[in-house]
């Protein structure tokens, strides 16, 4: 797709560009720059070396021709800021300083254009004078209020045409009969200039438009096109052509049909610490090493280092580091390590040959749409193979007529795992193809069961048809009317104003992808800022029903809301008072287990049955002393788990007990009981008071986030979120002191 490009931006920097026009809050130049920066940063983001750009200013204070023109005569007020080159971030930053309105109105746009054409010519001509394959473009942005010497217009236009340079002229407040814009009280110079530039565009087969149109289009996300690359070239076969005479075999190629476009990913960096003497300007360090992982300025790339450990056979309960060359490849079978020597590496691989073999056919209407589990592919006949074209066409139409899909086994490459694909005919006005999507194997299905939605079945097996969880006739009717009222299949309008599907795939743009691209580009030209811009409106267009449609369906919406009678459950009413025994879960029979046990007022904590007895003890009482006593016993048990742990053997139990205690105490709204406990536990662990080095236990508590209960978690807590976060962090200091 992407060939070589040479683009020159010719920008009007005249004094009059610093003015603001009626209805705009920015100067003409800043407005024009919105467009220029967007175009430049979009190109920079692709990182393509073959996309070269240049920026030329006219009506500038200084004249600078960079040696492009031999003689400055006639080129006064033209400034070639950058020759044609691949732009980098530093070029953008450098240019930003320079693109300011000048103090003059002297300088001719046609001179700048002549310089630009020479620039392009020089950069896109081969050694032997042949014209290289390039997309050549000049984009001129001006308010048309300078002086234009139109004497050479015809020569310049034919030069551009002859060199295949596409000229786009974007004028600030130029009249746009199509868009219906007309500037009032336009002065005569501008009127004349507009006409001159229009002639230029016409004579060079260029484009002439008003800037507002171009700026409007900036918000429409641009879609990256990818060249189709086949990922399977082989045969589509029905039957076994090795052992049987009569088979159906077609040479085909398989290309992606859908493929999720991924947003760019961020890499990890760390601030340099070796800046030493004085942190130099970031430009200094940013171009020496142009490696991929290189980050300029005060950031350094991050490398990952892996360390491998095994249980130390000589010292049970401890680990030892092992070197990579002591390790071999293997797999886990359950918890058994199966080691496979290098030479046996292929033994676990199923040997397969590439194929697309038809297993059978299914009826389209009996196929469950949700089974398709992958992106889709096109299957088309081998290029320039007449027989394959005719045969595949017959197959596609036969499937279509029979309303059937094919089921086939696909091995795209030798020794790749076979997959089962569904073959679906797709016949469009301008092409036809077979589409494939992957289907699940037996192992890919999770057989969870869910109760029916249209009836209730009791524990005893009785079927109930009236129930508060089943819709009544009123709700069914309301839903029926609502769904029909909100139909989108003809809500859209095509270019001719005819009804068409609303929210077609090609009208929707990946919000996150374009949001991230947008913000990176924005950030490239905005080094200092107070807040990030919000996403362009077009990315949010389909996040809610269209307002017109909702307005039309107001009646149906209201009826549905009333008929549904949905109530939001208020945030849980927690607290001691609410936790009565009656609320406890009951077994299937509905038996009140607590009553059976005589509604004990005090349950003793049993260390052999710690968690259940702790929960039961809390459930039985609402006396604060009793709760504290139960917590104390938990605390003792937890310490015992830790201090008697051989290696890490008791840590899991301790951690689970801590979790239960934290959850239960939070629910009782007595966070202080837990917070006191966990503070003391941390001190004891890090202070080495639990028989040895138990820091590992602390790391687990920290990793599980079982620290202080803060205000966010329980309103009764006096611990702020910052304090709670600090509680985890403080350990680093402790640990470093330890080390």
């Amino acid at each position: 797709m992407a060939g070589k490009e040479a683009t020159v931006f010719i920008l009007d920097l005249g004094r009059s560009m610093s003015e603001k026009q009626v209805g705009r809050s920015t100067t003409d130049l800043d407005w024009a720059l919105d467009y220029v920066w967007d175009k430049i940063t979009t190109t920079v983001a692709t990182g393509r070396k073959t996309a070269q750009m240049s920026v030329v200013g006219f009506r500038t204070d200084e004249t600078h021709l960079a040696g492009v023109m031999e003689d400055e005569d006639g080129y006064e007020g033209v400034n070639i800021f950058t020759p044609l080159k691949q732009f980098l971030l530093e070029d953008i930053r450098a240019l930003q300083e320079k693109l300011k309105p000048s103090a003059t109105d002297e300088g001719d746009v046609l001179s700048a254009l002549a310089a630009a054409l020479t620039l392009i010519d020089a950069a896109t001509t081969g050694k032997s004078g042949n014209r290289l394959k390039y997309d050549r473009k000049v984009i001129i942005i001006t308010n048309g209020r300078g002086f234009i010497d139109a004497a050479d217009l015809n020569a310049i236009a034919s030069k551009a045409k002859g060199d295949e340079v596409e000229i786009t002229i974007l004028g600030v407040d130029f009249d746009d009969p199509e868009g219906g814009y007309k500037e009032e009280n336009k002065d005569d110079t501008k009127k004349e200039n507009e006409a001159t530039l229009k002639t230029l565009a016409d004579k060079s087969d260029g484009i002439f438009a008003t800037l507002a149109v171009a700026i409007d289009q900036l918000d429409i996300p641009r879609i990256k096109e990818t060249r189709p690359v086949p990922n399977y070239k082989g045969t589509l076969t029905l039957g076994d052509n090795q052992n049987y005479d009569t088979t159906f075999t077609v040479d085909i190629e398989r290309y992606p049909c859908t493929m999720l476009a991924k947003p760019p990913t961020a890499s990890s960096f760390v601030f340099r610490t070796d800046l030493g003497s004085a942190p130099g300007p970031s430009t200094q360090s940013s171009n020496t090493v142009a490696g991929d992982d290189h980050a300029g300025g005060d950031l350094s790339a991050v490398r990952n280092q892996r360390v491998y450990q095994v249980d130390n056979p000589d010292e049970p309960g401890s680990k030892k580091n092992v070197e990579l060359d002591e390790l071999e490849r293997g797999y886990e079978y359950g918890r058994t390590a199966v080691h496979i020597s290098e030479s046996d590496a292929n033994v676990v691989k199923l040997e397969t040959n590439p194929c697309l073999d038809i297993i059978g056919f299914v009826q389209g209407e009996r196929f469950d749409r949700y089974l398709a589990m992958s992106r889709s592919h096109f299957i088309v006949p081998q290029k320039a193979n007449d027989q394959a074209q005719l045969a595949l066409s017959a197959f596609i139409h036969a499937l279509f007529e029979a309303e059937c899909y094919g089921i086939a086994r696909l091995v795209p490459k030798e020794n790749k795992a076979p997959i089962i694909v569904l073959l679906v005919p797709r016949i469009e006005p301008d092409f036809e193809a077979l589409i494939d999507v992957e289907l699940p194997f037996e192992e890919d299905m999770r057989r969870y069961k869910f109760p029916p939605l249209d009836k209730k079945i009791t524990v005893t097996g009785k079927v109930i048809e009236k129930h508060h969880e089943l819709p009544d006739q009123n709700l069914m009717t309301a839903m029926n009317d609502y769904v029909d009222a909100m139909d989108l299949s003809e809500f859209g309008r095509d270019d001719d104003g005819n009804p068409t599907e609303y929210m077609k795939f090609e009208d929707t743009y990946s919000p996150l992808l374009h949001r991230i691209n947008h913000i990176i580009r924005w950030r490239a030209t905005n080094d200092s800022y107070t807040e990030l811009p919000s996403p362009p409106q077009i990315l949010l267009k389909y996040s809610a029903p269209p307002a017109d449609l909702v307005a039309n369906a107001e009646l149906e919406v209201n009826k549905l809301v009333n008929a549904s009678g949905v109530k939001k459950v208020p945030p849980k009413q927690k607290g001691r008072g609410k936790r009565s025994l009656g609320d406890r879960e009951k077994p299937l029979s509905g038996l009140d287990v607590d009553e059976l046990l005589g509604n004990l007022k005090r349950v003793k904590i049993d260390s052999a049955n710690l968690i259940p007895s702790f929960k039961q003890a809390l459930a039985a009482t609402d006396d604060l002393d009793a709760i504290q006593a139960a917590a104390d016993e938990m605390s003792t048990a937890i310490r015992t788990y830790i201090s008697s742990s051989v290696g890490e053997s008791g840590y899991g139990r301790a951690l689970e007990a801590i979790r239960v205690m934290r959850d239960e105490i939070t629910e009782l709204e007595e966070p202080e009981i837990y917070n006191k406990f966990i503070k003391e536990l941390k001190m004891d662990i890090l202070g080495g008071k639990l028989k040895g080095d138990r820091r590992e236990m602390w790391w687990r508590i920290r990793g599980s986030k079982y620290g202080l209960i803060d205000r966010k978690r329980s309103f009764a807590s006096e611990v702020s979120e910052e304090e709670a976060a600090e509680f985890y962090k403080a350990t680093r200091r402790e640990r470093e002191r330890h080390l």
Partner: protein
């Protein structure tokens, strides 16, 4: 070194896709299942002799053990990090591993842990070797009470799987009233409550004694809880009520047990809980579940072979600054985007702002369309199942049900804006209704509900590969092909995933198991995805032949016309499409597919063989060799020596 992160209460298994994976994190721990199998004289009683091939031959205990064996092997594949244990109760022998004799007549056959090869072997021996089984499976004179068994399970769960989020006791018994006196029953009820408070679920697999039945209400309804303590507001499946399995009921006891146990094989866990905005001002609560997901085999790992026993080495990663090789704490890391040879940085807060600019997680209906506006070609990935939950909005179920029924009736779908969780990218999704599906025994095979099928954005659509002016079929030609299609319908005209195990996955684990158990390595894979060629030939040959004739006619007609237009060109085409691009369905002699490969892959087999004879294969460029292999559908990856070797292997295979 940075402190390893521990993940002990995973509730967000799927969330990892979004988050950066921390290599140092411990295995994500999931589910622990303890089988408790009753060993009593009735449980050991073999079924009556029968000539029927399908008749039972297993005693209930042995059927239960077989189930456990099968489940163990299956879980090693599907849930490689999950634990499983097997406890026999009522055995003459007592054995709980560490010399503990608190629980008399309880025998811990496999301790609760991630199964090892030894555990599988032990179980297999017991299932396959009757003598060994007979020795162990002797009922005790004075069997333990259910209370004892439950407390024993309590202790096993507490010590072996202390912080697992899902812990389940699978109780297999034929005794519907094991308590002789009320006090025994009360103790059992207390112990069951303890288990519930501990966070463990009891799943009862009842077996009917011959002529006796199994009445849950006598005893077990007081022990079994309808909700799961780890997920209290999950919709209650049709039952905690597993069907009572019984002998001599058409299908074998083993099959019945297997089917009940399989349906509980993996604990159900919601992927997300979200508000579902059906209309402006109308929100209900739903939970999302992943019911379809490609099961992959375990990734290879490093094994340390320096000691007596091979050991898996666990890796941890630390970050180093590239310039100074200084160890960097995770908190110091900054995220930056590469742009124009430089890095563009944002603070953590800004990154959050950028990603979360699209509002809170929600499923919001934008409107409705006919079902066919989500065509299969627009598929981009797997669908997610949603089901109502009353936890946040009372009345969710009835509204959801009304919507599902209306969509089914009108063959419509909703289109919705879907953000699965904070930080997740917004997705446009079709919401497609699904009916409940039952098998012939009335067991649910597909649940009723709605499916979220992600739709593509304009950015996700790839362009159609350019085709020339292709030949097109005629109605007569398509009609002959249609007859073939009608002949080859799969059973019931539908695709049933359960008929197709993943051949690669199965083979991988068969080999791995054989290696782990030091068995002989099997030689032939069982691949159910290979078409039934014989049947295809039998059913379709005459129709294919008819198609072949029609095709020849039509092909000649169309190409003659084409040749008239571009006569010189057609010849060229003939060369570009080699002899081998077979006229479909012509009677032809057996021959291997790309035999003469003339033109397409550059060199012919003969040419390459000649080069090989001169010892000059490695003198060819990689491009030439790759093209040669590619034209023959062979692997073209790797370095030059590997590619050259593959070319030579190919030639040897061809007899050159």
């Amino acid at each position: 070194m940075a402190a390893p992160e521990y993940d002990n209460r995973p509730g967000d298994e799927e969330e990892e896709e979004e988050e950066e994976l921390d290599d140092s994190s411990y295995k994500t721990i999931k589910d622990a299942v303890l089988f408790a199998i009753d060993v009593s004289s009735t449980m050991l009683q073999p079924p009556p002799e029968s000539d029927d091939k399908k008749a039972d031959r297993d005693s209930p205990t042995s059927a239960a053990l077989k189930c456990a064996y099968q489940l163990m092997q299956q879980r090693i594949i599907s849930n490689p990090n999950d634990m499983m244990g097997i406890l026999l109760f009522g055995t003459e022998q007592t054995e709980l591993g560490d010399g503990d004799s608190t629980f008399q007549h309880c025998y811990l056959l496999a301790d609760l842990d991630v199964p090892s090869a030894q555990d599988v072997k032990r179980l297999r021996d017991l299932v396959e070797d009757e003598e060994e089984a007979a020795e162990l499976l002797t009922p005790a004179v004075d069997p333990p009470s259910i209370a004892t068994v439950l407390f024993c399970a309590n202790q096993i769960f507490t010590t072996k799987a202390p912080n697992f989020s899902s812990r389940r006791l699978f109780l297999v018994t034929d005794n519907d009233n094991p308590a002789k006196i009320k006090q025994d029953k009360d103790t059992a009820i207390t112990r069951a409550r303890d288990l519930y408070d501990l966070g463990c679920t009891i799943d009862l697999f009842p077996i009917s004694r011959r002529g006796h039945g199994f009445d849950r209400s006598k005893f077990y309804d007081d022990l079994v809880y309808p909700t799961s303590p780890s997920d209290p507001d999950a919709p209650i499946a049709i039952s905690a009520n597993t069907k009572v399995a019984q002998s001599g009921d058409g299908i074998s006891l083993l099959k019945q047990l297997l089917s009940s146990i399989n349906s509980k094989a993996s604990p159900r866990r919601a992927l997300f809980t979200l508000p579902f905005e059906i209309a402006p001002g109308l929100r209900i609560g739903v939970k999302g579940y992943i019911l379809i997901k490609r099961q992959e085999h375990v990734k290879s790992c490093y094994v340390w072979v320096g000691g007596e026993k091979a050991q898996i080495a666990t890796g941890s990663t630390s970050h180093l600054a590239d310039d100074t090789a200084r160890v960097v704490e995770k908190g110091e890391l900054r995220k930056a985007y590469k742009f124009g040879g430089d890095a563009i940085t944002f603070t953590a807060d800004e990154l959050k702002q950028i990603r979360q600019a699209f509002g809170d997680p929600v499923i919001r209906i934008v409107g409705f369309k006919p079902l066919d506006m989500a065509p299969l070609w627009a598929n981009t990935g797997k669908a997610t199942f949603i089901y109502p939950s009353e936890a946040d909005y009372i009345g969710s179920t009835r509204v959801f049900s009304a919507l599902q029924q209306k969509l089914l009736k009108s063959k419509k779908m909703a289109v919705a804006w879907f953000i699965a969780r904070r930080n997740a990218a917004p997705v446009i999704t079709a919401i497609i209704p699904a009916e409940e599906k039952l098998d012939e025994n009335g067991e649910q095979t597909m649940p009723p509900g709605l499916w979220l099928v992600p739709l593509p954005y304009a950015d996700d659509l790839r362009q159609f590969p350019e085709q020339g002016d292709n030949l097109k079929t005629t109605d007569a030609l398509s009609d002959t092909m249609r007859k073939v299609i009608e002949q080859l319908q799969l059973p019931k005209g539908a695709y049933d995933p359960s008929k197709y195990p993943n051949p690669d996955l199965q083979w991988f684990y068969r080999i791995l198991q054989a290696m782990a158990l030091e068995d002989e390595i099997p030689e032939h894979p069982d691949d159910k995805t290979i078409p039934k060629y014989k049947q295809i030939n039998k059913r379709c040959a005459p129709f294919l032949e008819e198609f072949g004739e029609e095709f020849e006619k039509e092909y000649k007609l169309q190409t003659v016309e084409k040749r008239k237009i571009i006569s010189s060109h057609a010849k060229k085409r003939g060369a570009a499409a080699p002899e081998d691009s077979k006229p479909p369905a012509k009677k032809r002699v057996k021959k291997e597919a790309p035999d003469d490969g003339g033109g397409v892959g550059g060199l012919t087999d003969e040419d390459m063989a000649k080069i090989n004879d001169k010892g000059a294969v490695s003198k060819q460029t990689v491009v030439v060799l790759r093209d040669f292999l590619k034209a023959r559908g062979r692997d073209t990856t790797g370095k030059k020596p590997e590619i050259a070797a593959r070319v030579q292997d190919y030639l040897i295979g061809k007899g050159f």
